[in-house]
């Protein structure tokens, strides 16, 4: 990067992230409008039985966002040890969420709800899997930073990477709340 201005890379990373978020919003926006149109197109719409586990997962994801924020505060204060604890907690909770989602899919299948059972189930699987795929991408970034942090190679100087990963993580949390509303309330 040749622009001498300090912080150029930091700004670029944020701009790139927000651009990326726009494209993710468009993807899920198209998904939503497909869902609305498909529901109106025929009278075969059915909701999905919502396992309680979904609520547990939601809580886990929310907690991971809280942990992320705590970690960032510690990093700003230069407290690397506490950063490591909080960030590792966030990564663990993130992994737990994905594991929880896998259990949800298993439960649903056990209850006889498959991808091709009816439109409601189809959209549920597509939406949750797409969300989990985006989340897995964010989790890999998170875990990579975690690995660096635990080897003490991540200082306050790498704040940009931490910030970008955090913003993405919160975004995916909000996206999850939205999807949950879509499936649980609008779609039932």
């Amino acid at each position: 990067m040749n622009v001498a201005a300090p912080g150029a890379r930091r700004r670029a990373s944020h701009t790139g992230l927000y651009a990326f978020l726009c494209s993710v919003i468009m993807f899920f926006g198209a998904f939503t409008s497909a869902m609305v149109v498909r529901r109106g197109a025929s009278n075969d719409w059915k909701g999905i039985p919502a396992p309680d586990l979904l609520w547990v997962n939601t809580g886990i994801l929310a907690l991971s966002s809280v942990a992320v924020e705590k970690a960032r505060r510690h990093l700003r204060e230069g407290n690397r040890k506490n950063f490591n604890i909080a960030w590792s907690t966030a990564s663990l909770l993130g992994a737990l969420f994905i594991a929880g989602q896998i259990l949800v899919w298993k439960d649903l299948r056990a209850a006889g709800v498959f991808l091709n059972s009816h439109p409601g189930s189809a959209f549920f699987y597509v939406g949750t899997v797409a969300h989990a795929a985006h989340l897995a991408g964010g989790w890999i970034a998170m875990a990579f930073l975690n690995w660096q942090a635990l080897r003490w190679t991540l200082g306050p100087g790498k704040r940009t990477a931490v910030d970008v990963a955090s913003i993405y993580w919160h975004f995916l949390g909000l996206l999850w709340v939205y999807l949950l509303w879509l499936f649980r309330f609008w779609g039932n």
Binding site: M1, N2, V3, A4, A8, R9, R11, A12, T15, G16, A19, F20, C22, S23, V24, I25, M26, F27, F28, G29, A30, F31, S33, A34, V37, R38, A41, S42, N43, D44, L115, N116, P119, A122, V126, A130
Partner: protein, 585 residues
């Protein structure tokens, strides 16, 4: 990554062959990779179209070559309708995605955006490399459809369900071939999104000192607007592609309605809506046509100014026009679906919005004319192609206004009139802009000049050729000739058109052959062209302040300081007839 100040950056010369030519992160190498891929794709696409045109006017003739290439598709050397449709699908897909979308943005944009804004590279060089190789993979996956069981898909570049969703029983290519098509398009979407993120960030964050947004060349504005449109459009196509794939492979019914009988077999799907796919597709598809043409508009503006030795007329109006076109492109998609049974009120709304696009388009056209008006024109090949662009943009845009009327479109839809319209405005206009850009920037990219005499001959013959191909198509459409049919001879009412179709086909052969002149000129000049100086056209933008070809690190540690707008030609009282952007006076 930032190199610490004062320390020379490691240059490419130290990298091995792989890092230098294949997995390079240098935007210039990546740009050339995109350009190479596009030129190859273009010739594949041309070859397919020649085969199609041949079949249309000589449907009965036997051709050994065809049988060798497609033993099932051309038994006895006669092309089956299925083979025809698969050639058509592949032609459209290759041309739209791997030529018209790829060369203006991935190719020239990659090469020249960082140079023109005074940056060392794109914002995310590794992401840039990744988007090229994803595009490449997407092309390979698409072409693989030719070689798999059943061959290439038949559903056209728009891939409407039910045909595209029901699988093998709907035709040979509808099995694995169509699946590969969907995968290829999904990969292409991902690659384009990565590219868009890179372009937007580069434009916003990496401009050098003094390069305010309103001092950027219109080329940069074209790439920037295109990137924004791509960012909002490709995600939607990706969503449509995922759902289509699931309908094909997982037994869902997003797009497949109940009671479908295909080849005497009743399908199990129920409740889906084929129109839903059309909406998703065209919500992407209309912006896509502007993704193809906007970078060309930017390049043409710059080239017209350079060779008229005049500033672009109405620079700010040009920017506004581009942004407005970009915005409007998201609210007109319904004009592709007038006859889909939508409510007449929606038709009227879409129609009004569609014709509104005519306003910014007209602003651009008049500003181009204003730019050359009274200038001292230098009719180089680049200039000729830029003028040709304006010409076909007008001829193709006017037919768009006709198609934008629901009453007229209910007759013209799915006729050759549409084929004429979009080839003129999307195909030819974009390709002309790409030719203009090639002749204009080749000296910078290679350090050698292309041959002007050969270039002009190529221009004039191509110009005549494309009009000879595509204007008659409008007449065929007016006569009611449907598109996407493998054989017209069976329809009595089309018998009278056989001469017109023959003429079109011969014009197509001729024009295709003429493109070899370009290929020859390009390759010959690449190795043997006379050396070009730093700034052979006396142009004003920053890339011309560097040696040709530019060094790997572009401006190195001396990013230029910009003092003026991009088109300071014929300044009153100036010592020479142009001032470059970094010149103080």
């Amino acid at each position: 990554m930032a190199a610490p100040a004062g320390r020379p950056k490691v240059t490419n010369m130290n990298h091995g062959f792989l890092r230098r030519y294949l997995f390079s992160t240098d935007h210039k190498t990546i740009g050339l990779q995109y350009i190479t891929l596009s030129i190859f794709a273009a010739f594949v696409g041309i070859a397919l179209s020649v085969l199609m045109r041949f079949h249309l006017v000589y449907p009965e003739s036997r051709w050994r070559l065809l049988e060798t290439l497609w033993p099932d598709g051309a038994p006895g050397g006669v092309m089956t309708p299925e083979l025809y449709l698969s050639l058509m699908t592949m032609h459209g897909t290759i041309m739209v995605f791997f030529l018209l979308t790829t060369v203006p943005q991935g190719g020239f944009g990659n090469y020249f955006l960082p140079l023109q804004i005074g940056a060392a590279d794109m914002a995310f060089p590794r992401l840039n490399m990744l988007s090229f190789w994803t595009t490449f993979l997407s092309f390979v996956v698409l072409c693989a459809a030719f070689f798999v069981e059943g061959g290439a898909p038949l559903a056209g570049w728009t891939a409407y369900p039910p045909l595209s969703a029901v699988g093998q029983i709907a035709g040979p290519g509808q099995g694995l071939g169509q699946t590969l098509w969907v995968l290829s398009i999904a990969l292409f979407c991902i690659a384009s999104l990565m590219g868009a993120i890179n372009f937007i960030t580069t434009t916003l964050e990496l401009r050098t000192r003094g390069m305010s947004l309103l001092r950027m060349p219109l080329t940069c504005w074209g790439w920037f607007t295109t990137a924004i449109i791509s960012l909002f459009a490709f995600g939607v196509l990706l969503a449509g592609g995922v759902l289509l794939l699931l309908d094909r492979e997982a037994g869902t019914s997003f797009f497949l309605p109940a009671g479908l009988m295909i080849n005497d077999k009743l399908l199990a799907n129920k409740g889906g809506s084929p129109l839903l796919f059309q909406h998703l597709f065209w919500f992407f598809g209309h912006p896509e046509v502007y993704i193809a043409i906007l970078p060309g508009m930017g390049a043409v503006s710059t080239i017209l100014a350079t060779f008229s030795r005049k500033p672009v007329f109405g620079y700010r109006a040009m920017i506004w026009a581009m942004l407005i076109i970009g915005f409007l492109s998201f609210v007109v998609w319904g004009h592709h679906m007038f006859i889909s049974g939508m409510s007449p009120y929606s038709s009227i709304a879409f129609s009004l919005l569609t014709v509104t696009v005519g306003v910014p388009s007209a602003i651009k056209t008049f500003n181009w004319l204003g730019t050359i008006w009274g200038g001292s024109l230098r009719l180089t090949t680049a200039m000729l192609f830029a003028l040709g662009f304006v010409s076909v943009f007008i001829s193709g845009g006017l037919t768009g206004l006709i198609l934008g009327q629901p009453a007229l479109d209910s007759y013209f839809h799915d006729t050759y009139f549409v084929v004429g319209h979009f080839h003129m405005i999307m195909g030819v206009a974009t390709v002309f802009a790409a030719f203009a850009a090639t002749f204009y920037w080749f000296p910078k990219m290679r350090g050698r000049m292309m041959n002007e005499t050969l270039g002009r001959i190529h221009f004039y013959l191509t110009f005549i050729g494309v009009y000879a191909i595509f204007i008659p198509m409008h007449f065929a459409g007016i006569a009611g000739n449907p598109r996407r049919y493998a054989d017209f001879a069976q329809f009595d009412f089309l018998k009278d058109l056989s001469f017109l179709h023959k003429a079109t086909t011969h014009a197509a052969f001729f024009t295709a052959a003429v493109q070899l002149l370009f290929l020859f000129n390009f390759l010959w000049s690449w190795w043997k062209g006379p050396k070009a100086g730093q700034n052979p056209w006396h142009a004003t933008t920053l890339e011309w302040t560097l040696p040709s070809p530019p060094p790997e690190e572009n401006f190195g540690h001396n990013p230029p300081q910009v003092h003026r707008g991009p088109y300071d030609y014929s300044l009153p009282g100036a010592p020479k007839d142009f001032l470059m952007q970094q010149e103080e006076r």
